[in-house]
Structure formats: C-alpha cells, structure tokens
Subunit: 461 residues, 2 copies
C-alpha cells in the first residue's frame, strides 16, 4: 500500500498528544443509527456537554444530524480537522487512515474493537494502521477505547449514551486502558471533586501510558495523576518519565496482576509512584492530593464524636508508620477549659454534645486549638451526620472558614443513621475542598500514602 | 450496704440474656426532658417502631408522657417489669439497682456513661452495681451502651433520636462495645438486608461478648453473627463457645489493635471464627453468609460487561486461594452458540449488548449455562447499571428466577455512570437476596472468607 505522507516525520520525537485533548474541530466517522454505543452517542454527548469546537459527522446514511451537516467522507470537508473519532468496521480502518493522511489530520481515536483482541487477520489490520500512523506522524489512541475527556473545554469523546451531567472542573486526571476509567463506568458527574482529564488508552496500538504521563506532566490544570495500567509497553521509558513527573505532581498507579510483581513495585516506589491496591482507590485516594497539603510528619490527631475509631485508625496507620499524636499539655489544658474532660486520648465531641446545648459554638475553637498543636501533622476528623438540628449548615460555615485556621491536611470520615444525611454532608464537605472517604481505613490510608510521598519528595534534590 | 436478694442464685449458670431481647414490659428510668439523647429518645423510638410490650416511664418531673402514664419510681408500678432501661446519674445507680432487686427485675441496661471511664469514685459505683447484680441474679448490660435491637418484636432501646425507619427483618445479628454498631451510627433502616439482633455491650460490667455469643447461638432467627470486640473479657470461655457456635452458624469478628495479635488471630482461626479487617466489612461481609450458600470449591466464574475485573479479581482471589474457573469446553460451546465470541477468559456481555438489541432475552440462558458448569463453585457477576432501557425491571425479573436455576453462590458488583441508577439496582438485587458489594475486591473477599469457612466446617466432625 502506497501512502502519501504529508505529516512531519517527528513521530515519537514530539509529544503531540495535545490534539487529543484540545481539538478545535473533530470529525466523527461511523453510522449515525441510534444506539447506546457509537457515533450517534458521541455526537449527542458532545452537544449535551457543550463542546465549543466544530463537529463534523461523517456518514453516508443522512445529510443532517442533530442540527449538524453530515458529510459522506473526510474529503468532503473543506475546513481543517484536528481529530478524527472513528467507530468503523475494522476492515474500513486502513482507508480511513489514508484519508486522514490526505487531510493532514494529526490524531485519531479508534473506538471500534474487533482488532487485536479478535483474530489474526484483524491483528494485521491493526499493524497496518500503525504503519500508516508511523509514516505520517498521525497519533492513534485505541482501538477499543472509551475515549478522552477534557473538562476544560467540555470535550467528551465518549461513545456511550449516558445522560451526561456536568463534570466538575478540577485537578485530578485519570488514565486507564480498558474502558473502566470512563464516565459510563464511574459516575464522574455525581462526584463532588473536580476532574481535569480522563483518558482510556484501549489497546494502546500507538499512544501509551508513557505518552500520556508526559502530556499530563506539562498540563498545568492537572495537579494529580491517577493511572490504571494492566501492562506497561516500555517500562524503562515509563519509569524514566515517572521519576521526573512525581517530583512535580503525585502519580498514583493501580496495576492488577501484582501478586508476583515485587520488582515492578520496588521500581515504582523508587520512582516516587504511589501504588494503589483497589479499583475504588483510583477514585478516592487522589482526592487527598488534589485538596490537601502534604503532611509534614507522621503524627495525626483525631477529633471524633466517638472514642471509637482510634483503635482502628491506629491499626491502619501503623501500616504507613503513622501514629496518633500525643497532644501537648498546653493543648489539653486549652481543650479542658472549653469543656472539662474533652480531651482524653482523642478529642471526643460526644460527651460535649450531651453537656452543652450550644456546643457547636465552641466547635470551631476546638478545631483551631487541635490544628495549632505542633505535635499534629494532620487531622483525622470523624463526623456524625446527626439527623436533627441545623448541623449541616453549621458544618458548612465552619469548614468554609477552616482553611484560614490551618495549613495542615484534614481528612474526614462521615457516619450517621440515615444515608441521605451522610451523603449530603459528604457532598458539601467535598464541595468545600475537604476529602471525605467512604471508610475510616481509607481515610487513614490516604494520609499514609501522602506521608510516604512527602518523604520521597523531601529526599529529592 | 444490705440488699435483700429475691432473685435466684443462678448467676452465670443460666444465660438469661433473653430478657434483654424479648421483654414484655420495660421501665425507662431518667429525666424526660427533650434532648437528642436520653429517656425521652428511648421512649420516642420505641413508640415509633411500634414496640408491642408495655412501656413505663419513670421520672418525677411529669405524670404523663407521649400518652403513657409516668411513675415516680419503680416501686409505684404494680405490674411485672422484665427489663429496666436506665439513664440516670451514676450516683443514683445503686439505689436503682436495689429497687430492681425489690421489684424482682431480671435485667437492666445502663446507658449512662461517667462510670468506669471517669474517676475512681465512680469505678467504685460500678463495682457496687455489679455486686448487687451478682447477689441478686440481675443481669446488666452497660454502662455506656447504646442498647439493644430486636427486629423480631420491634424492640429498639436506642437512646438517640434518629427518626427511625423500619429495619428490615433478617438473619444478621451484630454485637459491639462502643456505640458504633448501633443505628445512630450505621443506617440500618436504609440497608436492604435484614437484621435480627443488635447489641452494644458498652463497658461490659457484667454481660460480655461470650454471653451474647451463647445467646445468639441458640437464637433461631440469627443466621450470621458479626462482632466488633475491642477486648475479650475471658478469652478461654469465648473461644470455647465460639468453637461450638461456628459449627452452627458463621461468626465474623473485627478486633482492632490486632497489629501484634498473631496469637489471638491463630486461636480465632482454629475456632472457625472469620476475621475481618475493616469496620465497614462488619456491615458488608455478613451479607454473603446471610444470603448465599457456601461455595463448594475455590473456582469462581465471572460474567461481566467488561473484560476488566478479571485481573483485579484474580489478585484479590489469590489471597484466599481462589482462582478464576476454566469453563468446560461444553459450556464454551453452548455460550458461543448463543453469541459467537461470547466467552473468552471470562464471559463478557459488552460485545453481545452491542451486537444484539434483544440481548437481554438470552441473558438468563447465559447465567444458567455458566452456573451449570461443574468447574464453577461460585459466580462473581459484574453488572452495569446502564442509564437507559428497561434494564432495572429486566434484572429484577431475571434475578427473581435465578435461585431456581442454581444453588451456587452468586455475588455482585454494580457500576455505572449515575449514582442513583447504581443505588437502585443495588437495593433491588439485595431485596431479592443477592449480596451486592461496594467494591469489586470486597465481593471477592466475601467469597474467599466463605470458602475458608466452608473448608473449616467440612473439617469438623
């Protein structure tokens, strides 16, 4: 096959991943038949979230779709195309690639599956795609991907109908390789923390985890990087990039199949990568890093509505060399002026709540006194979502002011008798920038991983 | 102090814990002043949940409360009292105990704190209470407890106002010792699985974890026992009872401070106790045991909407000696008749859903074929709560019929793009008796613990 190469020859030299995240114009190639998956869904999603770039549907079945002019082929579009989104039969992909070359397209996302994962003939097709890409400088994400999200420009190239809610803008970027990191899987729109980018790499015929890591390294709106990696294409390159990136921003990695991967684990740790263990942690632990400063030491204080929690927190903390802080005599004295017996091993608000009807009025002072104690590097706050009283509003007011009181990290676990109250308080606290964890132990683990990362960062030149 | 002992002398000989769970008449002693905690709350809760026994408020401040006659003292009640619920100042507790003896009360729950946990003088008070109890045969739960729940007779002696929803009846009984196991902490009323008993032991001045374990052993409505134990009063007695109980029903134990407790862990395992690690597991793992049969072997199958999950499930399963089952050639052939390529390493419904518009019509057959494979001991089902289509109703219909298809255990993890859909599907499946876990790894852990328990049980005579 002869291909006229009009692209530059800088493949792999230049990390031109930016086209995938910041296209001004996209062509969506594939049948527009209504379905839960496909071109139809991509365009519907793009329009719903309010993508501001140009959208060019490409299909032969109709001339107009959702108010957009439909073209029969890429060739028929006179304007420049930054990115092609393709859901086409694998047998048509080579022709589409050639059209991309001719149109000087710089990037293509191939959503279709049935390439590498099916049979030999199709494997050849994937190879062919890659050869054209290499020769022409076109970068390819996929095949078999759920696409890209960039909340900054409302670009959501997601091929599943999902009734998109607005995803909150923020500093967390996620990367995966099996569709399980995208918004038909996890309810990004229901999260109360912000997302910068999401990228599903699919089969990784071309663009891989190293490319994305390098892109996110220099993406100023990405504060934290969380990756789900099943296999690493080029371990040496990945670790080399990671060693550089982890010094600038935290990189969290979940890699399944780690049972026999002590070598990989050790290399990751040396590179400053924060290793996760569970799928749900990908969506929870980054919140600490996005919202909170790193702890300066391993001593955490506990303010709680119950004496409970200390023992479980101590158990979990020990895994990360964390200890429950011993408050200074000065702090204990101050707390006992607020209410006698307030502070034993941990600060227990329960008895105070029973003793003082207006206890909420002294609560900000308690937070302040504890956070000012030099023995405390981090606060673990266990909150009771009580079913009565104006507590939610009180909490919102108090936590809105908390950042001016202290620059130490605060993590929260909320419990309570009714799920809706717990949920309301959780959402409101996260909207204010305080990470709330689904389990007491996950909150402590987040502190522990942040502390380990702080040590690693301190060690770097 | 002289006490007339009218009770029998069978203290500790007879496990008369039944009075705490099945009282026909209760006296509630303490000020009826409106507060989020106290007698007022207990009586309000009892009336709200529809307790069918007699309720006698005891207070000097009024003569009528919520339609109930208020007495000034226990002595003034002519009817028999099975159980006294006391929220009184610790200095008044000895007098109350003496009144209990005179009234031939068999059991008292002391909710008040400020006993053991405060100062020496009050420690003496607690000792005094216990001496009276021992001489008279009165059993004591507390002090510093959040009380007892028995869903069977709507008896909820819970001293916090919480706007009680109805707790579903079922086979799980929970026991703790620090108020963190009671319905002001965890939203029992929002759970979609059933509860039999809940007991918070508080300071354990008298009734302890061994007493409760022995009571639950013979409680026919308790199918699974889950305990949060901070310290064990009499380890030898506890393990002796546990060795007997674990053969009849599963006993799950969370014990904090286990970092240095290898000896305790080993003893528990020998006694057939299932050890938990996280607080949330107390409320999740028992669901498997309450809803599902035990797996007969260590091979689990996966049906999923995504190839993902297999690697993470394999990692987690390895901790419990579980493996992903290799389906028989016969099963694979049958599945490929339903849809070509349906079964690779795991059964992936995703492509099928894209290929077949009526895929839901073949879905019950897929479940049946997989569950009938002799290589499968348990099914791990990953479900996608899709945002469109009549899927929820389809699932409900299919899962309602599933039990007649197979007697093998099925555990479920649900994911999806919108939290409300995930929640709806989760609730409906649990209402049908299928445990849904909050995380993929927790689902696998539940299978793993059930498999270990099955091995242990098989080993017993």
């Amino acid at each position: 096959m002869q291909v006229k190469v009009s692209g530059s020859n800088n493949y792999l030299e230049k990390n031109n991943i930016v086209c995938f995240f910041e296209p001004q114009s996209v062509a969506v190639v594939g049948t527009l038949r209504e379905s839960y998956f496909g071109s139809h869904a991509i365009i519907k999603n793009l329009l719903e979230v309010g993508f501001m770039g140009k959208i060019y549907p490409i299909d032969v079945s109709c001339s107009e779709f959702m108010g957009l002019k439909v073209h029969a082929s890429l060739k028929n579009i006179s304007e420049k195309i930054d990115l092609v989104l393709a859901i086409v039969n694998s047998s048509m992909i080579s022709n589409l690639m050639i059209e991309c070359v001719e149109k000087d397209v710089k990037a293509i996302i191939i959503f279709s599956n049935s390439f590498l994962e099916s049979d030999e003939g199709k494997f050849i097709l994937q190879k062919e795609v890659l050869e054209i890409a290499k020769r022409s400088g076109i970068r390819v994400i996929g095949p078999n991907t759920a696409g890209i999200i960039n909340t900054g420009n409302s670009f959501i190239s997601h091929p599943y109908i999902m009734g998109h809610g607005k995803i909150k803008l923020g500093g967390i970027s996620l990367c995966g390789q099996n569709r399980m990191i995208s918004p038909h899987t996890y309810p990004f729109a229901d999260f109360h923390y912000g997302i910068s980018k999401v990228c599903d790499l699919g089969n990784k015929s071309d663009v891989d985890e190293s490319d994305i890591l390098e892109y996110l390294e220099n993406d100023s709106s990405t504060k934290v990087i969380a990756m789900h990696i099943e296999n690493i294409r080029d371990g040496k390159r990945f670790l080399k990039i990671a060693r550089r990136v982890t010094y600038k921003k935290p990189v969290l990695v979940l890699k399944p199949g780690r049972t026999n991967e002590q070598v990989f684990d050790a290399a990751c740790k040396q590179a400053g990568i924060i290793l996760l263990e569970k799928f749900s942690e990908l969506f929870e632990i980054p919140k600490f890093f996005a919202f909170q400063p790193l702890p300066k030491g391993n001593q955490f204080g506990i303010i709680s509505y119950t004496g409970m929690g200390a023992a479980l927190a101590a158990d979990e903390g020990a895994k990360y060399n964390l200890s429950i802080a011993k408050l200074s005599p000065d702090t204990i004295a101050k707390l006992n002026v607020i209410s006698p017996g307030l502070c034993k091993s941990v600060v227990d608000l329960g008895p105070l709540m029973a003793l003082k009807n207006d206890y909420i009025s002294v609560y900000p002072e308690i937070l302040k006194v504890v956070l000012e104690d030099d023995n405390i590097d981090c606060l673990f706050h266990i909150l009771w979502a009580a079913p009565m009283g104006p507590f939610l509003e009180d909490y919102i007011k108090i936590f809105r002011n908390l950042r001016s009181v202290s620059q130490k990290p605060v993590v929260i676990w909320v419990y309570g008798p009714r799920q809706p109250n717990v949920y309301d308080l959780t959402c409101n606290l996260e909207d204010l920038g305080f990470p709330v964890f689904s389990a007491l132990e996950t909150a402590i683990k987040a502190i522990g991983l942040a502390y380990q990362y702080a040590i690693w960062k301190g060690r770097k030149p």
